[in-house]
């Protein structure tokens, strides 16, 4: 390696050129990425020296758009913040509005929200496990995980009529009720999925998978706490953070005994994956407990959502739920005339993506896809308006 030699005499025109390090651009359209994000990685040979993340490629202006809609239309819009955790977004928004106008939803509606929430967590985690398997070149596991995911999507379709955007939440309750036939088929599907997750768990215990993931993307607990990461990323570094336990919502208060917060001490990509595998089993436990403890009888008919939305007073409220990727936070300010004067969404990936620099620096180029996938980034959630300064 030879050092750069500037021949220009004018000191203001000297541009430092480092021939010993190289800038590697990733994205926004790149085969290793599922969504548009731009990551510029500075490398020296194989070692990563610096990471520069640019978001904003999928900024659709949702927060601004929500201010021009009424509350019922806003639920529709907010569901489309993210296709993977759509139920989390609407639950977070709707429970904020319910808190503001002090509406108590029926117990059965709370349980149904919880069941759907956990099914969503399962489908999201299975999706991630498939993607991670594909990134480390384990396509069989990818296909297996996606095949399992279809069982969950079938349940969604039978519960709500939709596979992806469920449209289950309304102000003051949920839209659809369970029938007894559906309860038994949920149990059947859960048994099938549970036995398959055991196969997945064994597949990730394989030596090849371990070698690809162990020690990759280390994030120490002190760094994790300092960066404010949430969800499985924080729990993979040993932090006990879970909004379902810390700040119970829906029916999680009643179901607190049915699950425990999974933490791992490995601090690397493998422990983050392991947390998610264990959480799948916990989700199954929660759903089984929720179906058992759910009050019998049909769903109480709630008031007309349009009428309820007009009764929401002017005020501001914050609301948080534990989405599959971590704590999802909403700040809602209503104008008292069936509209929003401000909406702010802080998604879990927005908190987690800042850890990418700590995770990648010091690692190798070949580990970038696996380390990035272990964060489970959801870029379409994350992208908000970012002002980078006047220049």
């Amino acid at each position: 390696m030879y050092k750069s030699e500037t021949t220009m005499t004018d000191p203001t025109r000297i541009i430092p050129v480092h021939y010993d390090c190289f800038k590697l651009p990733f994205g926004p359209v790149h085969p290793a990425l599922k969504e548009p994000i731009s990551i510029n990685v500075t490398v020296k040979k194989e070692e990563i020296l610096d990471v520069d993340i640019r978001l904003g490629h999928v900024n659709r202006g949702i927060e601004k758009l929500a201010q021009s809609r009424n509350l019922v239309q806003a639920i529709h819009l907010i569901e489309r913040v993210c296709g993977i955790c759509s139920h989390s977004h609407t639950t977070c928004f709707v429970q904020g509005l319910e808190k503001l106008s002090s509406i108590d939803i029926s117990v059965k509606a709370a349980y149904l929200r919880t069941v759907l929430f956990e099914l969503e967590r399962m489908h999201s985690h299975l999706l991630l496990l498939g993607v991670v398997a594909q990134e480390i070149g384990f396509t069989t596991v990818f296909m297996h995980a996606f095949h399992m995911r279809e069982h969950i999507l079938d349940l969604f379709e039978r519960l709500t009529g939709n596979r992806i955007h469920h449209a289950m939440n309304v102000i003051g309750g949920v839209r659809w009720d369970l029938n007894p036939g559906l309860v038994s088929s949920i149990h059947v599907s859960l048994n099938v999925v549970e036995s398959s997750i055991k196969v997945l768990r064994d597949a990730f215990k394989d030596k090849t998978a371990e070698k690809r993931l162990c020690g990759v993307g280390r994030l120490d607990p002190s760094d994790a706490l300092g960066l404010g990461v949430v969800g499985p990323v924080a729990r993979g570094s040993g932090l006990v953070i879970d909004a379902r336990k810390d700040n119970p919502y829906a029916a999680y208060k009643d179901l607190a005994g049915a699950f425990s917060v999974i933490t791992m001490q490995g601090k690397d990509a493998y422990s983050r994956i392991e947390v998610r595998i264990q959480e799948l089993f916990e989700s199954i436990n929660i759903i089984r407990a929720a179906l058992d403890e759910m009050p019998a009888g049909s769903l109480e008919k709630c008031e007309n959502p349009m009428r309820l939305s007009r009764k929401v007073p002017a005020g501001e409220v914050v609301s948080a739920v534990e989405a599959p990727r971590g704590e999802l936070f909403y700040y809602i300010k209503t104008d008292g005339k069936d509209g929003l004067s401000r909406l702010h969404i802080r998604t879990p990936t927005f908190a987690n993506i800042v850890a990418l620099k700590d995770i990648l620096v010091g690692g190798e180029i070949a580990d970038i896809p696996a380390a990035l996938a272990s964060l489970d980034p959801c870029i379409s959630c994350t992208t908000r308006m970012i002002v980078l300064g006047e220049n």
Partner: protein, 179 residues
């Protein structure tokens, strides 16, 4: 020197757009293709998936289409990593300002004959985001779209149907005309 009806319509669509290079497209449109290439393309269309600002809903349905339940690969389709290898462009999402130059560039990188499938309501008309300032219109405002798959998100069966329809409308038409 043959120009199929389909290609003629498409090139006329492109000519009035400043960012396309008309000469480039005319040269390709006039070039005679061997029928074996067209036939092979029809049997094994390769797909490139471009997220132009979608909510992930359509994207995970495209992934589901490639999973064992629906298995688009039985039709010879394969999701490829580079647009230069692809025949079919699957576009999801209402095009955001940031992604517009990328959408056009990816479209230009796909070799002729290419087929564009707009997947989801966002790609077709903007869906709930149509009034946003950050959205620069549906996909067909910027690149010619051959098939539209409606739904928010569309079901996997419909995506398969859309890709097949695109193949028949686009590549199939061309290959039969060339006989």
């Amino acid at each position: 020197m043959y120009v199929s009806r389909f290609r003629a319509i498409r090139s006329s669509l492109m000519l009035h757009r400043p960012f396309f290079q008309p000469s480039h497209y005319q040269v390709h449109a006039m070039r005679p293709h061997s029928s074996i290439v067209s036939r092979c393309r029809l049997k094994s269309p390769w797909l490139f998936h471009l997220n132009s600002g979608s909510c992930n809903g359509c994207d995970i349905e495209i992934l589901s289409v490639l999973s064992p339940r629906y298995d688009l690969e039985r039709y010879g389709c394969q999701l490829v990593a580079s647009p230069r290898h692809a025949d079919v462009l699957l576009v999801t999402g209402a095009v955001t300002r940031q992604m517009l130059p990328r959408v056009i560039r990816v479209f230009e990188q796909i070799p002729e004959f290419k087929v564009v499938v707009a997947i989801g309501n966002c790609a077709i008309n903007g869906c709930v985001f149509s009034q946003s300032e950050m959205i620069v219109g549906p996909v067909d405002k910027h690149i010619p779209v051959d098939t539209r798959v409606h739904g928010c998100p569309p079901r996997p069966e419909e995506i398969i149907k859309g890709v097949m329809a695109a193949m028949e409308a686009g590549l199939g038409n061309k290959s039969t005309n060339e006989k």
